[in-house]
Symmetry: C2
Subunit: 126 residues, 2 copies
DNA sequence: AGGTTATTTCAACGCTTCTTGAATAGTTGA
DNA sequence: TCAACTATTCAAGAAGCGTTGAAATAACCT
C-alpha cells in the first residue's frame, strides 16, 4: 500500500466519530447498515454522518452500495487490513515488542475461545 | 488502552513528517537518535522538528532523554504496539480478512528469513 | 403527478493545526 | 565568564478540518 493512502486512512481513523463508525460496522461485515440507521445508532445529524462516511469511503476504509432508497455502508476489510499491515510490517519492521503487544491483546479472548495464530499462510485455529 | 489515547496516537501518525520520524527511529530501537541528527537526516528546520517530536512524545509514541547537550529521541514500542493492537483487536474484533492482510505483508519477508508466527504466548520462530 | 422518506451537497463560521523566523534557555569547553 | 552548540518556545499568518442548517437530489408509494 502506498504511503499516501496509509496517511489518508490514518487521518480518517483519527477521529472519534469515524472510529465509532468503523467499530459499529466492522461486526456486520459485508452486510453493512443503511446510513439512516447508522445515524440513529450513533445519534448523529444526517449531514454530519454523510460527511464522515464519505471521508471513510474516500480513504478506502468503507464501501457503499444503493439498495432501494437506502445507501448501505459496510467496512472494506481489505483497506483496513492493509492500513494496519503497513503500520505493523512496513513501518515497524515487525518489531518484536510491537508484535507482542498485538498478540497480547488477542490472548485475553483466546484464553476463552481457543487460540488463534497468525502465520504466513493465514489464520489458523490451534 | 483507552480510546482517547488511541485517537491521539492515530492523529499523531496521520502526518507525513511524523510517520517519517517513526520509520526513521523504529530500527534504532531504544538507542534512538539526537534531535539534531534527525533534523539532518530528514532535512527539517529545528523548530518544525521539535514541534513534531513533542507531538509524537505526547501521543505516547516516542520517548526522550537528555545526554550531554543532546536530546535523544527513541520509539516507545509499547505505545506503538498498543495502538496497533487496539486497531487490530478491539476495533476490528480480529476480523479474519484484516488478520490475513497483516500476515500477508509479513509473509514476503518470512519466505526469505524464516517464518515468524504470532501466538497468544508471543512471537515464535518456526 | 404529488407527497414522503432517505441521503447528499452547499455555504458559512469557528476552531485547530502547521509552518516559519526570531528569540530564549540550557549545556559544554576554553 | 565567554563563546559555541543544541534544542525549545513564542508569535503570527496560512491552510485545512468539522459542525450546522438550509437546500437539493433521488427513490419510492399511492
Amino acid at each position: 500500500m502506498e504511503r499516501s493512502k496509509v496517511l489518508a486512512a490514518l487521518g480518517a481513523l483519527a477521529h472519534e466519530t469515524r472510529l465509532d463508525l468503523i467499530r459499529l460496522l466492522m461486526p456486520l461485515g459485508a452486510a453493512g447498515m443503511p446510513a439512516g440507521r447508522i445515524a440513529q445508532a450513533l445519534g448523529l445529524a444526517a449531514p454530519r454522518l454523510s460527511f464522515h462516511l464519505s471521508a471513510l469511503e474516500q480513504a478506502g476504509l468503507l464501501r457503499s452500495r444503493k439498495e432501494a432508497r437506502n445507501v448501505i455502508y459496510s467496512v472494506d476489510a481489505a483497506g483496513i487490513g492493509q492500513t494496519i499491515s503497513y503500520l505493523l510490517n512496513d513501518c515497524c519492521s515487525d518489531h518484536p515488542e510491537v508484535l507482542a503487544a498485538c498478540a497480547h491483546g488477542r490472548a485475553e479472548r483466546d484464553r476463552v475461545q481457543g487460540c488463534t495464530a497468525v502465520t504466513a499462510s493465514g489464520t489458523v485455529k490451534t
